[in-house]
Symmetry: C2
Subunit: 350 residues, 2 copies
């Protein structure tokens, strides 16, 4: 195999097709198994991994399926060993990682240099990954995974050099969800004058950034929906929304009652399944729902809107919007309320 | 139970919440089990069912899992018996039905009368259904299921009275997919002057209607992508597209090569999993993908676009657009090419 790989290395694909082992012809994200060999093809960059940041929906699923932290750790190791990437087989999602550039192929277009500390902005579900320390420094508790190993970036991958003015963990935490505020900004700006906006899961990472992005984009009434009183108090104290309401996002009737007058734009940032119908009911006819949660069910959204005779536009939250990393980091720098929430969350996790 | 239901019947919900048996509080589409009692609540309509039209993705999955027609028939009976509705547990999708109005509650807002022959335009996944003939007239072959039994429409449900000028089977076949051409029309009209459009699965029901809807909405270049030479010939003969190309829609690289210059709007009407990445690669930066297939994976779409650094807008194909039934039937009447394709498909199935 090694000879074959070397011989073929003159014709790598910017999408990483040359790393797909099985099945043939699919892109890396669809692949069952990737080649995680840590030697770069001409347009690739190889990283020394420092930390994985698992997708919230994925971590939650692993935790529910496997129970103990030790069992979750074993499950992650097994997935990466078998697939050459970290992709949760149930949720289909992955996460991102932080590392240091170890090698740069001569044709890499990413502009990275050996020694740069970077966060990957493409999903772990398509990133060739090899773990070399057995995750010895991780107890399986929480989404942040200290990890030694290697990862590969393709020609078309995206990575952000970590800013010097923010702690790494904070930057990573922001970059993990940076698509959400950027797309919220774009949708709210296009939604007419002073549109009303509701963020389901407004107390979380993508939710709090989306709230302030909406307000800065010209939203009128801004509503945050959160599950608990304590989270409501935190969002109110941070000054992120005009109204903070409490409801279980999985209960459509409760969501609609809590939000009151339907809004023009609903942003779904809740990482549990079953929030599609509440989001649809909370949205005014002609309005837009943006689904950012990886726990979203396509058929529940499509058939739910049809079944409710709801004329709403429903967007799949695309994690890539040009300039999204800088946009999200700038929001954090400009909004002390958001930064306080992120920092509190980190203290809680640590 | 019967007494309890009767006593509560003064307070029905337009969304059918009063029909949900398990779990409590969810909408009928999310429910594990519905009450299919054929006596109407005040705002309901009850139908005598004539025929079910299973969703294509659902039928395909049942066929692959169960093999023989007889086994598929048993599986459908078991699902409806257990759940009080026809919702495929794997795909999450259902279909629609044709029937005759048997009873109209005094408060029904649908404007239907006893004896009207109607097609339901809300999914079977939320329609209380009882089968009384054991599907004795169906051999399990094909998506159209002759059936005796009863179904319930809620206050907010949608049903179309079958037109007198078209055969029933043809109308049902069109109404089953009528959301696709209506939303394609809307998106193409909003996409700027003469946008280019590609329909993946352009030879199928929703695909062929979407092709002509795109052209009538002002599309410039119109491309149909189909899997086989025979289907390409049929679409060309029907005059539905400027270009007809042949590729496996599940192979992203093949799709991108076949389509050539990326298009402004891509419409996905292929009822098999794995078409998300090809659709994204076929779409120009700033363009739009509309996913109509129930086999679409939310996470594959979201993470695929991110992983390809593709700045495309992705829409969940909402099956409801006001006026969609009339719009689709009018397209069929106005476009002999589409009608010929639909009729050929029916001859094939029959």
């Amino acid at each position: 195999m090694t000879e074959g790989i070397d011989a073929g290395r003159r014709a790598g694909s910017p999408y990483g097709l040359h790393r797909v082992l099985d099945p043939a012809g699919v892109l890396p994200q669809q692949a069952g198994c990737l080649d995680a060999d840590p030697r770069p093809w001409p347009d690739e960059v190889v990283l020394d991994v420092e930390r994985l940041n698992l997708d919230a929906a994925s971590y939650r699923q692993l935790r529910e399926e496997h129970g103990s932290g030790a069992a979750v750790r074993s499950a992650v190791l097994r997935i990466v060993e078998e697939r050459g990437k970290m992709q949760n087989p149930v949720t289909g999602s992955g996460g991102m990682l932080l590392g240091t550039v170890r090698a740069v192929g001569p044709d890499s277009p990413l502009g990275l240099r050996v020694g740069d500390r970077v966060a990957t902005l493409v999903s772990l579900t398509l990133t060739p990954l090899r773990i070399t320390d057995g995750l010895a420094d991780w107890d399986g508790e929480g989404e942040q995974v200290p990890c030694r190993g290697t990862a590969v970036l393709f020609g078309r991958s995206i990575a952000a050099v970590l800013p010097a003015d923010l702690p790494d963990a904070l930057s990573l935490s922001v970059l993990d969800v940076c698509g959400a505020p950027a797309l919220t900004d774009r949708v709210v700006r296009a939604a007419g004058p002073s549109p009303s906006v509701c963020v389901l899961g407004g107390g979380g990472k993508s939710g709090s950034l989306s709230l302030v992005a909406a307000r800065r984009a010209g939203a009128g009434r801004v509503v945050a929906l959160v599950p608990f009183e304590s989270e409501a108090a935190a969002v109110l104290a941070a000054g992120l929304a005009d109204e903070v309401v409490i409801a279980d996002a999985r209960n459509p009737v409760a969501v609609a009652e809590a939000v009151g007058a339907p809004v023009d734009v609903t942003v779904v940032c809740v990482d549990v399944p079953g929030c599609e119908h509440g989001a649809i009911l909370a949205t005014a006819p002609g309005g837009t729902v943006i689904f950012f949660s990886m726990a979203t069910s396509f058929s529940a959204a499509a058939l739910g809107a049809e079944g409710l005779a709801a004329d709403v536009r429903m967007l799949v939250g695309n994690g890539y919007v040009p300039g999204h990393a800088e946009f999200a980091l700038d929001l954090l720098r400009a909004e002390p309320g958001v930064r306080a929430l992120f920092e509190a969350r980190e203290r809680q996790t640590a």
